[in-house]
Symmetry: C2
């Protein structure tokens, strides 16, 4: 014990917590002893005593997409910033829907965590009830719910942007490759993007024909086979909107395999603007991934430190980045 400084544990605690109650001479004495012994507070005991944790939980489907990682980078940048109010970051990977509920219960009930950041995973009302019962602040990233603060993007609008871009390029026979509308994680962004896409087409007097749509699991290989079937029809599309960059890469690969030149025979536009997009020269809808993580982390810290008054939804800007595939 650092009371080799000739003071009580209470005083050490006060000094280390910057209590104003300690007079300078003793304060100095304690600091000296602390430095000499390399003493540090035990965070576990502190958490228990204080009744609040110094860590935040980040619940995230770690394996699904590049974009999730990029968001996480923003979160990490903000949270382990070495600065004053650094929170420990407890990472909870969610591989399957059931795990999400488990993770949240674990984190909430056990008071391990001062707040929860939930990335890309839909949340249910009873789960929110549980969080509020435990007084656990939470913020959503890439999903939204009226009762919780969140940072999102207008995916429907993003779909419109994609349609407008393709329309402006003169296309009228257009295809779509995206996620199954119902999928095990409950992701909805692909479907939202398709809706916006489809309705913008409608407004231009063009119908997104069912024969021009393909759905599957959101990975490259699946997008590849989906695209082949799209392209091998009697009247193949001259442009394809993929619900994510990863899927767009699959589309590109199928085009290459079938000898369709991009963008001359078929134009391709993706969504997300992950680093891959720039590397392959993919035209895409850019969303601020890294920034979304930073913003969400800031919101969470604010919620932890000041409470949440009314749950803001931060809607981030979308832009089209034109590269070589359209």
């Amino acid at each position: 014990m650092a009371r080799q400084a000739g003071v009580s544990a209470a005083t050490v605690s006060r000094v280390l917590n910057d209590s104003p109650l300690v007079v300078e001479p003793t304060r100095a004495r304690v600091r000296a002893a602390v430095d000499e012994l390399g003493y540090r507070l035990n965070a576990t005991a502190r958490t228990l005593s204080l009744g609040r944790a110094t860590a935040v939980g980040v619940v995230v489907p770690f394996f699904t997409t590049h974009s999730v990682i990029e968001r996480l980078r923003g979160v990490v940048a903000r949270l382990s910033g070495g600065g004053q109010r650094a929170y420990d970051l407890l990472l909870y990977d969610v591989e399957a829907p059931e795990q999400r509920a488990d993770a949240m219960r674990d984190l909430a009930d056990r008071n391990r965590v001062a707040g929860l950041l939930i990335v890309s995973l839909p949340i249910f009302d009873d789960e929110i009830d549980a969080l509020q019962r435990d007084d656990l602040p939470a913020v959503l990233l890439d999903v939204s719910h009226p009762r919780l603060p969140g940072v999102v993007v207008d995916n429907v609008r993003g779909g419109e942007l994609a349609a407008e871009h393709l329309l402006a390029k003169g296309h009228s026979h257009i295809g779509f490759v995206g996620d199954h509308p119902t999928n095990e994680y409950g992701f909805t962004s692909s479907e939202d993007r398709r809706r916006g896409f489809s309705s913008a087409l409608d407004r231009a007097g063009i119908r997104l024909d069912p024969s021009m749509e393909r759905y599957g699991v959101p990975d490259r290989d699946e997008a590849d086979v989906l695209t082949r079937s799209l392209l091998q029809q009697p009247a193949p599309p001259t442009a394809i909107f993929a619900a994510s960059d990863l899927q767009a890469i699959g589309v590109l690969r199928a085009c290459e395999a079938l000898g369709a030149r991009v963008p001359d025979d078929v134009a391709v536009i993706g969504f997300d603007d992950v680093d891959l997009a720039e590397i392959v020269g993919l035209t895409t809808i850019h969303q601020p991934l890294r920034e979304s993580g930073e913003l969400a982390a800031d919101l969470l810290v604010a919620a932890i430190e000041h409470g949440v008054h009314d749950p803001v939804q931060e809607v981030q800007e979308l832009t089209v980045v034109e590269r070589r595939t359209t």
Copy 2:
């Protein structure tokens, strides 16, 4: 308190910890009460009481490379496996060298963590002393030290493999693009790869001329400008070995910009085999990234649960994956 089950806290604790000392009827009664109340042990209190944490700390330079993320995926897959021996995962991002020391001191001293997994970051003797003083198991991933278990790859051998591949393709005028030998993180793999590369060339009677080497920070843009200067010399190389796939992408971009055809005018080989490599068709040295994370996580769990007897170094296999750039 769940002693609504009519028993003491001690008994509840025993039941929840599967102590054999509790007779079946009471056990059942406690379980029923636990289920009904949705009661869960408070991990913080448990940690404090037991004197050992249920989390492991993962110290990782989160922003540096794709390969780090891929390794992390392996770690996550193993650790948050939902199974019995699931450890919480405390993520410590290290942005700068000083932070590494901070992170380790934080984690170790405060007893937050049952073990440490250190990814891609060199560690010093005095830091190891500190770990051992605290009895904190640690395993290294993508770095090695004689006193600690680790999983690595033979980077020198990898460089040789790259050289042998290029040699077999008939090249004799060969360039290298890699990291500065001394860099702030203390990464050494680029330099190790270059050494192996250079000595395999030597053995073939070919000298890696200083005018054929370029060094910089390990990112795409830097590799791009480095490559331009390499290619704009009187006698440009006909093949280039890049110390990582990311750098190889920069090399490819420079080739494109300068109108050099790949692989006809210049062949390019990378290192790592991240997903990017497959997407752009890059020939590269494959290392089992995901698996390395899984293995390291397993080693750490073993070290935590059974102690470490002698520090094994797991050396993983390297292979060349030939694609379209050589």
